[in-house]
Symmetry: C2
Subunit: 264 residues, 2 copies
């Protein structure tokens, strides 16, 4: 039996305010939690506070678990009470919000995504998944972006949340630093720019994507060394824009293409 105060704590974590206050968030869903619990400790960036599961799930899975505390078995009804999902779920983990350290060497030697004011949790989640697919290990978000520990972001990021480090930071000083003190490429995505298909090859740099409605803001524009665009097939018949998750997918694919087309 979970205590009343524990139940109310877990339930409160669907709100950002209480996540910040307690330094905790909830990860739900069999696949997502299993990915977390079966990541070897040295590869795992996250500390697990507690795991709640049905006895059935626990019996089936506990031998494969290599990370985290013991499972607390709870009845179905209790799991439902602490869950923020509509569909019934069998396991839920309470996880500590990490305090990642930026890896500057990695920034100087690999691609890094920079996201300004992404508002839709589903978009942020799918961008994390695409970053993971294309081997991008760090993402920097503006402070006004949607929260990565929002239940919807976690659902759409799926297990990729455990493999990509996401930072929130004041973007103009972050980008300005690399613009002024290094020669690292800073590539902004715009509706007008150099075709992404005709770009100079790059293996490293900051790749900046803007807000869903407004794009990259004026205060970041001066630091973009290159402005790229995804050209439409027919400029006279095209949507005003494409979804930012789609743009991220196409741009990551293009930037990793040189390496990937030689490796297979």
């Amino acid at each position: 039996m979970l205590s009343k105060s524990r139940i109310s704590l877990v339930r409160s974590l669907k709100h950002k305010k209480f996540r910040m206050l307690n330094g905790l968030f909830v990860a739900e869903g069999e696949k997502i939690v299993k990915d977390l619990l079966t990541t070897s400790p040295e590869k795992n960036f996250f500390n697990i506070d507690s795991i709640y599961a049905t006895s059935e799930w626990s019996a089936k899975n506990k031998n494969g678990i290599i990370a985290g505390p013991d499972i607390t078995e709870v009845p179905d009804e209790e799991l439902k009470r602490i869950s923020s999902l509509i569909t019934p779920n069998k396991v839920l983990a309470v996880v500590r919000i990490p305090d990642f350290k930026q890896d500057k060497d990695l920034i100087m030697n690999d691609l890094t995504l920079v996201l300004e004011d992404i508002q839709d949790p589903g978009n942020l989640g799918t961008i994390i998944r695409i970053a993971h697919w294309f081997g991008i290990k760090q993402i920097f978000c503006s402070e006004n972006s949607t929260d990565i520990y929002n239940p919807k972001t976690i659902q759409s990021a799926m297990g990729s949340l455990w493999s990509v480090k996401v930072f929130y930071t004041e973007l103009s000083s972050f980008i300005k630093y690399y613009y002024e003190s290094t020669d690292l490429p800073v590539i902004g995505t715009f509706l007008k720019g150099i075709s992404i298909y005709n770009r100079q090859p790059v293996t490293k740099g900051l790749v900046v994507l803007g807000n869903e409605a407004r794009g990259i803001s004026e205060k970041l524009v001066p630091y973009m060394r290159t402005r790229v665009t995804i050209p439409a097939y027919n400029e006279n018949s095209r949507p005003d824009s494409i979804n930012v998750g789609m743009s991220a997918a196409i741009i990551c694919s293009e930037l990793r293409r040189d390496k990937l087309s030689h490796s297979k």
Copy 2:
């Protein structure tokens, strides 16, 4: 004032059953409706049954409208009653569900998307938008796919709904026909296959994407002439899959790349 029966008709259209019964669907949101009403009649595939707007919206926009019936002005509260959106909106159109004719010449000479059992309305909507961006004019969905006239699909497809023809059909006989009677490329996307970056160039063909969880079903597999995949950057550290909308974006971008990289 709208009659009670009219209000209940419009409200009922959020359910597929009543859309099918009445042959009507609802398009909401300023941008989406404006795109519909300002498409020249010869390019417009849709017949508009009625338009409901606030007097303010009507005064501002009626001169630019080149398609559809007169606007019925309704008070804010009434528009709210017939709307299925949470955020207040200023205009709503009731549109006839079209009975498109397949353009076989276009299938034989251009790229066509084929979607099997896409379940998420947001995914279907963003795929329609990406198809529009990359100049793909016809999409064929299996009969078990989510309904394109679902309010969520319409929101995520945005104005692209008006420019891409979406058909629902029994896919195995549809694909079998082209496989057996023509030499049209039939390209299936899988987790294992030829790297999309190393494919043979194609300018036409059926491009098949499968269900979010199961991929392309066994009954369609025999008709795939080519199996392509989007390679991950690191096979030892990657998500199990990427979102089907992301796959569609990357594949459309790749297949249109040859033309696009020469045109700019």
